[in-house]
């Protein structure tokens, strides 16, 4: 039961990763690419980690996975803001 659930979560995570990278390749401009990328970052990694945490069944490993996920969330939110603001500044030329 737990194995099935964790397999489903991991596969869903990989699906979001692939969807995000295809979006990164196919979408027309930087802002929509930003949208695609944050899906891969937050949701893909989150689902993957949920699956791995279920698989590990060890509290220490689960807490460490949570810590990694929070670090990635903070990093991706910060960098998305920074990159978008940078692009906006260059567009308006100020």
């Amino acid at each position: 039961m737990i194995n099935t659930l964790s397999s489903i979560l991991i596969l869903a995570g990989v699906f979001f990763y692939l969807a995000g990278s295809i979006g990164l390749l196919r979408l027309p401009d930087l802002y929509s690419r930003l949208h695609a990328l944050t899906k891969a970052d937050n949701l893909g990694l989150g689902l993957l980690m949920a699956g791995l945490a279920l698989h590990s069944q060890d509290l220490f490993v689960m807490l460490k996975l949570l810590l990694i996920w929070l670090a990635v969330l903070a990093a991706s939110a910060t960098s998305a803001h920074l990159i978008a603001r940078q692009a906006r500044r260059q567009e308006t030329g100020s």
Partner: protein
């Protein structure tokens, strides 16, 4: 379970490769930086899968370090662009 992990790691490798294509011909520096961000998180995912596959708990720490350094790259990129712009 092992097959699933190997398959997932291969899927993440594919995602990493697609990100490299964007690095190769992304029109602006911002696009390239976004792709680098994707490569970083895909790397974290691969490390987590390898941690289970190879039974190497130390890889969790490597993934944590990679996640922490990802924030620094974007900050350094923007700072460098700003000083270059002025």
């Amino acid at each position: 379970m092992t097959e699933l992990f190997i398959l997932s790691a291969l899927g993440l490798m594919l995602s990493l490769f697609l990100g490299l294509l964007r690095v190769l011909h992304g029109p602006g520096a911002g696009d390239r930086m976004l792709a680098i961000q994707l490569i970083g998180t895909a790397g974290v995912g691969i490390l987590l899968l390898l941690n289970v596959l190879l039974n190497q708990p130390a890889l969790l720490d490597v993934a944590l370090l990679l996640a922490l350094l990802a924030a620094v790259t974007a900050a350094a990129f923007t700072g460098q662009q700003e000083t270059h712009h002025d």
